[in-house]
């Protein structure tokens, strides 16, 4: 009898401790995982896209100021900037962007004879076939599952290949951290239901941001209705930043 009781006691002990272990493992793992952590499958529902309406832009530079505050971008570098195109009667084109238009624009470049002038805001195109991610030697530059081109700053070695590879000049080397840096479409905002800082700051809603995979989103409706262009489409990078009212002079 003694033996059987001891066996039963041991069995009970083993089962209960095993149960406790498994149970606690589940409880703790659930508690840690599901708060504020992005799941891969959830991200596949999104494909973030960006539309710039150049006919609405007034070149105030609110977007540049908002971006540099939001992401603490170092001076003289800009993740988004505004270019001014001025074309005179002799078809001479002048393009300028003083300090990335962070303090807007001061004077016209031509004193007279301007036949056409407009602003073009620029931002990382988050291309589908991006040149910058292909050249990264350590895999620190990548496409997130929701279609944003991002940098893993913990493993970027700051070699600068990607800065040279980007045909749009959207990357820079952050000399303080020694890594490359670029527009993240404000990745920390978009999954909390906020718009990127530049879209949030635009007073004329010239910048529109949304999910391209959602057929009812505002951005999809605009792309279905309006005529748009892309920057340097011949390079085959397949950019995802669509420009409404794009002029031939803009590259």
């Amino acid at each position: 009898m003694d033996n059987i009781e001891r066996r039963q006691f041991l069995k009970l002990g083993i089962y209960s401790s095993a149960g406790l272990l498994v149970g606690s493992f589940f409880a703790f793992s659930k508690g840690n995982d599901k708060i504020d952590v992005l799941e891969y499958d959830d991200l596949l529902k999104f494909d973030w896209g960006y539309v710039v309406d150049t006919t609405k832009c007034i070149g105030c530079g609110s977007c540049v100021r908002a971006c540099s505050v939001e992401n603490s971008v170092p001076d003289t570098f800009y993740r988004t900037w505004v270019e001014r195109f001025e074309i005179d009667n002799h078809e001479i084109v002048r393009v300028d962007s003083p300090k990335g238009a962070i303090e807007s624009f001061k004077e016209d470049n031509f004193k007279s004879d301007i036949s056409k002038a407009f602003f073009v805001p620029k931002i990382c195109n988050h291309c589908y076939n991006s040149a910058c991610t292909q050249v990264c030697p350590v895999g620190a530059s990548y496409h997130s599952p929701d279609g944003v081109v991002l940098i893993d700053k913990a493993h970027c070695i700051g070699c600068g290949y990607c800065v040279q590879a980007c045909p749009y000049g959207c990357r820079y080397i952050d000399h303080k951290k020694g890594t490359a840096d670029k527009c993240t479409l404000c990745y920390h905002r978009i999954h909390k239901g906020e718009e990127p800082a530049c879209v949030n700051a635009c007073p004329r809603s010239a910048r529109i941001f949304g999910n391209l995979k959602d057929p009812n989103s505002k951005i999809r409706k605009i792309l279905n209705q309006r005529r748009y262009g892309l920057l340097k489409p011949d390079l085959g990078t397949n950019p995802k930043c669509y420009y409404i009212g794009l002029d031939l002079e803009v590259v």
């Binding site: 505050v69 990548y142 496409h143 493993h155 999954h191 949030n200």
Partner: protein
């Protein structure tokens, strides 16, 4: 046999090198690399942890409701709070929880005062800005307004939340305030398609319909300085909505006529405000059209029953029927197609846009209060027949 041995040694060295390389690779690879592609999956969540700095205007509206409502109604409605007041993350954090946020009160104060540059970032006259966007040359503007002190700030006259002054290029506006389709006027289809209003051979001006009023206005002192569109805002908001806005607001008149130290005291005529009306007891001080009540004759004749005006004398009372018939075919049309939002609200005191209950019984009560109104005063005639065949 010897050759075979050579090959084996080479092969063994190669294989062992590959195995060592693979082991080193797996050892050096950071955690979660290659989980979902050639990158570290954890890096995505690390980026997500960055704090949000620029605040949404909705967050501001939770506490500053009154200012937000004022701001939303006027021309600056599309300008978010962050553009003028700064990011505001410290301000929000401090006022949500001042103890645990460790933020000093000085840091939580938002910037309020603006130099010229703040306004001129958007409103400086530049060739590249769209022509329908209001923009000024500061020197010319000050000369025109007879302002002596060139250091006077924009906000001394224009309240940023309620800028009032609006003047748009007439070529940007719709061709005509009540005509929407080419076929409304042209019986045959026009040869050319006029995508742009400015391409139309005839641009409609105010005097085409309101000849006598414009003539009268030109003989009065205002005509050198003020255009029709300065007070009667008429511009295109979207494809469907254009609005006529009578700016009879006292604040609007005071933009020029209030006495301030930086203005030329002689011209245009100045008044001390509110001393100007404080002694007159018959004046109701809350009336927004306080200036026009006495001075309306100095602007132009206010009576619409004039020759050269296509509308009949009873236009004011009868035009609703015309509008209903005209608009019934367009589903999203309503009074504010011509009038501003507040126009309906001023009599009916109904929330705009109507709440969900309105469609049920609530709106019947509104109609009953009005008296003998027929359904099709508001709805198109076909509305009843859709159910009551």
């Amino acid at each position: 046999m010897r050759d075979k041995l050579h090959i084996y040694t080479v092969l063994i060295i190669l294989v062992s090198l590959i195995i060592i390389a693979a082991i080193v690779d797996t050892l050096l690879q950071p955690k979660s690399f290659n989980e979902h592609g050639h990158y570290r999956w954890d890096a995505v969540n690390e980026l997500e942890k960055q704090t949000v700095i620029n605040q949404n205007s909705k967050i501001c509206s939770e506490c500053h409701k009154d200012i937000y409502q004022l701001h939303e109604k006027d021309a600056h409605f599309s300008v978010p709070c962050v553009d003028c007041h700064g990011a505001g993350n410290l301000h929000v954090a401090y006022h949500k929880d001042s103890v645990s946020s460790n933020i000093t009160k000085e840091k939580a104060i938002l910037k309020k005062e603006f130099k010229f540059e703040g306004c001129l970032f958007c409103h400086k006259k530049l060739n590249a800005r769209p022509s329908d966007f209001p923009q000024i040359n500061q020197k010319e503007h000050y000369k025109f307004m007879h302002i002596i002190d060139s250091t006077a700030k924009c906000i001394e006259c224009h309240s940023p939340h309620e800028p009032i002054f609006l003047l748009t290029d007439s070529r940007q506006s719709r061709l005509h305030p009540i005509v929407y389709k080419c076929t409304d006027c042209h019986k045959t289809k026009p040869k050319k398609n006029f995508y742009d209003v400015a391409d139309h051979p005839k641009i409609f001006e105010c005097k085409d319909c309101h000849a006598e009023i414009v003539k009268d206005f030109n003989s009065k002192p205002h005509h050198n300085y003020v255009e029709c569109r300065t007070c009667h805002l008429f511009h295109k908001e979207s494809e469907n909505i254009g609005r006529m806005y009578k700016n009879g607001n006292a604040k609007f008149c005071l933009l020029c006529h209030e006495n301030k130290p930086f203005k030329d005291p002689k011209y245009p005529p100045k008044v001390e405000w509110p001393n100007h009306i404080s002694n007159i007891k018959s004046i109701e001080k809350t009336d927004t059209k306080i200036c026009l009540n006495c001075h309306e004759k100095q602007i132009h004749k206010m009576n619409l029953q004039l020759k050269g005006n296509p509308h009949p004398g009873n236009w004011k009372s009868e035009h609703k029927k015309f509008a209903v018939n005209k608009l019934s075919k367009k589903i999203d049309a309503s009074c504010n197609l011509c009038h501003q939002k507040d126009y309906c609200l001023s009599c009916h005191k109904v929330e705009m846009p109507h709440n969900d209950q309105f469609k049920g019984d609530d709106h019947k009560l509104v109609v009953q209060k009005k008296g003998k109104a027929l359904c099709y005063n508001c709805h198109a005639k076909e509305f009843c027949t859709t159910c009551h065949e």
